[in-house]
C-alpha cells in the first residue's frame, strides 16, 4: 500500500477541471476556500468559477439558483462550515426543493472527522454524516481514498440530485486501483472477507480497519472489512449479501456514535433485513474534543486507535463468539 501523493480534493478537482473543458454546464463555487488544483480551474474558467466569500449560506443559495437554471454545481468549503453553518439552506433549497425540481448541487466539504486535528472542535466535523443523512433526497459520499474521489466525478454529474461529499484534508494511503472499476452506486466495497467479525468503516477509518485486520491476523483472528462510502437511498441488496454471513458487525467512524451516523445506517439495514447480527459501534462518545494534538494522539486519547480496537475485538471474540 502506498501513500497518496495528493489529497482527495485535488484529485477530484483535477478530474472536474478536465470535465469543465467539455461540459459548459459545470459551475464551481467556493466560500473563499482553495487548493493548489483549484487555482488552474479558477484562472481557466473565470466565467464558471465564483468565490462567494466567507458566506456559506449564500454559497448554498447561489448554488441553488444556478442549479435550477440547469447547471451542475459544485459548492466548495470547509466541511463543518459547509454542512452546519448553512444547514437550513441545505434543508430547504437542496433537500426539499430537489423533490420538486432537478437540482444537481454537489457540496464538496474538506475536513471530514478530525482532519483538522489541531484546529480544535470548531474545525472537527463529527456530526456531518448524521445531520445530512437526516435530510430526505440527499446523498452522502464519504470516500476513503483518491481513486474513489476520482470515480465520484462521473457519478456527481450523472446523478442529478443534491449530494454532500466529505473529503479528508490529509493525504491518505491508496486503497483502490483504477482497474478495480469501483461502482459508486453499489455504495461500498468489500476489502476483505473474514470469518465471524466484520468491520464496517467509512472515510479515514477504513485505513485503521486495514491495520487492525493485519494485527488480528497475527493473533489468528480473521476479520472482514467493508469500506462504506455512500450513505443514502441506494440498493442495499449487495451490502446485505456481504454482511449476512457474519455473527458480529463493528461500525468504525471518526464521528459521534449513537447519533444517527454510520452506526445507525448499518443498524437499520440489519433490522430491515431481519439479520440477527450483533452490532458494536466505535467512534466518539458524546463529547467534543478540546484536547490538542495529532489525529493519532486524539484517537489514542479517545480509545479509537488501532490497539484499542484490536483489544475490543479480542474481547468480543472471547466473550460472545
Amino acid at each position: 500500500m502506498t501513500t497518496g501523493i495528493r489529497m482527495m480534493r485535488d484529485i477530484f478537482i483535477e478530474e472536474l477541471y478536465g470535465r469543465m473543458h467539455k461540459d459548459e454546464r459545470i459551475f464551481f463555487l467556493s466560500a473563499d476556500f482553495g487548493s493548489p488544483k483549484l487555482d488552474q480551474l479558477r484562472w481557466k474558467f473565470k466565467n464558471r468559477f465564483v468565490n462567494v466569500g466567507i458566506a456559506e449560506q449564500n454559497l448554498i443559495n447561489v448554488a441553488t439558483g444556478l442549479a435550477i437554471e440547469g447547471f451542475t454545481v459544485y459548492a466548495y468549503a470547509i466541511a463543518p462550515f459547509l454542512s452546519m453553518r448553512a444547514y437550513e439552506q441545505i434543508r430547504i433549497n437542496l433537500a426539499m426543493f430537489s423533490q420538486l425540481k432537478e437540482i444537481n448541487v454537489n457540496l464538496v466539504g474538506v475536513g471530514a472527522g478530525l482532519s483538522y486535528d489541531v484546529s480544535g472542535p470548531t474545525h472537527h466535523c463529527l456530526e456531518d454524516i448524521s445531520i445530512i443523512r437526516t435530510l430526505p433526497n440527499m446523498i452522502v459520499f464519504s470516500p476513503s481514498d483518491e481513486e474513489l474521489a476520482r470515480s465520484f466525478v462521473d457519478y456527481s454529474i450523472k446523478i442529478r440530485k443534491p449530494k454532500y461529499i466529505r473529503f479528508d484534508s490529509k493525504k491518505l494511503p491508496v486503497i483502490y486501483k483504477k482497474s478495480d472499476n469501483i461502482q459508486i452506486e453499489n455504495g461500498f466495497s468489500q476489502l476483505r472477507r473474514g470469518k465471524k467479525i466484520c468491520l464496517i468503516s467509512t472515510g479515514v477509518m477504513t485505513h485503521k480497519a486495514i491495520k487492525v485486520a493485519k494485527k488480528l491476523d497475527k493473533c489468528g483472528i480473521d476479520i472482514g472489512i467493508i469500506d462504506l462510502f455512500l450513505l443514502g437511498d441506494f440498493d442495499k441488496t449487495r451490502l446485505v449479501d456481504a454482511v449476512k454471513k457474519y455473527k458480529c458487525v463493528i461500525t468504525l467512524e471518526e464521528a459521534f456514535i449513537n447519533k444517527g451516523g454510520l452506526d445507525s445506517f448499518i443498524l437499520s439495514i440489519l433490522d430491515e433485513n431481519h439479520l440477527k447480527i450483533n452490532l458494536h459501534r466505535i467512534g466518539f462518545k458524546d463529547k467534543y474534543v478540546f484536547d490538542i494534538g495529532s489525529r493519532e494522539y486524539l484517537h489514542r486519547l479517545k480509545e479509537i486507535d488501532e490497539d484499542s480496537i484490536v483489544g475490543l475485538i479480542k474481547n468480543i471474540k472471547s466473550e460472545s463468539l
Partner: protein
C-alpha cells in the same frame, strides 16, 4: 396612460377584495402581510412588467419572480388564477385537504419558482439565477420580493453584498417596506432605515416609491426593468401592513391577526 392607471387601480381594488375572500376560506392565511403587496403584484402582472406564459409556467423566456416573503403572497393566488395559471375554483380550496394552495406557496403551484416560508433565502437563490441567465446570455430578468423585516436575516446581506460585487444588473429587488414585524414596528426591533442609502453603499441602484400608488410603481418598475447600469437595482415600496382594512392598519401586532369569517363581507364593502 390614464386609462392604464385607472385599469391598474381597479385591478388592485379587485385583488384586495379577492385576497379577503381567500382569508374567509382560510383564517390561517397571513392577511396583513398579503395586503401590503397588492399594488406591487398588480403592477408586475397587469402592468406588463413581468413576462410569462400561463400555458407553460416553466417557459425559458419567462422572467423569474422569486417571492421570498412567502407568507405574504396569498394575494398572488387570485392573479395567477385570473391569468390562467390554474383554475379559479382552486381559490375556494385554499388550505383545504388536497389543495395545492397552502397558506405559504411552494413550487407545487404553477407560477411559483422557489420553496418559500423561511425568510432570507430568496435573494441568494435569485443571485444564482441571475448569474446563470447572464452566462447563458439570456435577457430575462430576475425579480425578488422580500419584506423589510426579512432584512434582519444575515443571509439577505450576504446576498446584497454578492449582487453588488458581481454587478447583477438583471436582478430587481422589491422590498415591501411595511414597517412591521411579528412583534411590533421594525424600528423598535432592528431599525433598518435608511434602507435605500444602505443599498446604495452596498453598490446597488435603489429607488423608493409609495407602494400603494400604482402610477409610481409602474414608472419605477418600468425604468428599473430597462436599467442597464451594471448594478443590481432595488425598489423600496413604502407600504402599509394590512392596507385597506381599518382593523389591521396601524396595529403593530397585525402580522398574525385573522379576521372573523362573519366580519369579512362587511370589511369587503368598506374597502376604499
Amino acid at each position: 396612460m390614464n386609462n392604464k392607471i385607472n385599469f391598474l387601480q381597479e385591478k388592485a381594488k379587485w385583488l384586495r377584495k379577492e385576497t379577503l375572500k381567500i382569508h374567509k376560506v382560510s383564517a390561517d392565511t397571513r392577511l396583513a402581510s398579503s395586503l401590503s403587496v397588492v399594488e406591487i403584484f398588480t403592477v408586475l402582472y397587469y402592468g406588463n412588467i413581468i413576462n410569462y406564459k400561463t400555458e407553460e409556467p416553466d417557459w425559458s423566456g419567462r422572467d423569474r419572480f422569486i417571492i421570498s416573503k412567502g407568507h405574504g403572497a396569498i394575494s398572488l393566488y387570485p392573479v395567477l388564477a385570473d391569468l390562467g395559471f390554474f383554475d379559479h375554483d382552486e381559490l375556494k380550496k385554499v388550505c383545504k385537504e388536497g389543495s395545492f394552495l397552502g397558506s405559504i406557496p411552494d413550487p407545487i403551484i404553477p407560477g411559483f419558482e422557489t420553496v418559500n416560508g423561511s425568510l432570507g433565502h430568496g435573494l441568494g437563490v435569485a443571485c444564482g439565477v441571475a448569474i446563470a441567465l447572464k452566462l447563458k446570455k439570456r435577457k430575462e430578468k430576475v425579480f425578488v420580493l422580500i419584506g423589510d423585516g426579512e432584512m434582519n436575516e444575515g443571509s439577505i446581506w450576504e446576498a446584497i453584498m454578492f449582487a453588488g460585487q458581481h454587478k447583477l444588473d438583471n436582478l430587481i429587488l422589491i422590498v415591501d417596506s411595511n414597517k412591521i414585524c411579528m412583534l411590533g414596528y421594525c424600528k423598535n426591533i432592528l431599525d433598518l432605515e435608511p434602507i435605500q442609502e444602505k443599498l446604495k453603499v452596498f453598490k446597488w441602484n435603489a429607488k423608493s416609491v409609495n407602494g400603494h400608488n400604482v402610477s409610481q410603481l409602474l414608472d419605477a418598475l418600468s425604468s428599473l426593468r430597462d436599467y442597464r447600469g451594471k448594478k443590481p437595482v432595488a425598489l423600496i415600496a413604502n407600504t402599509i401592513k394590512g392596507k385597506g382594512v381599518s382593523m389591521l392598519e396601524n396595529d403593530p401586532l397585525n402580522h398574525v391577526k385573522s379576521l372573523k369569517k362573519e366580519d369579512i363581507d362587511a370589511v369587503i364593502i368598506d374597502l376604499p
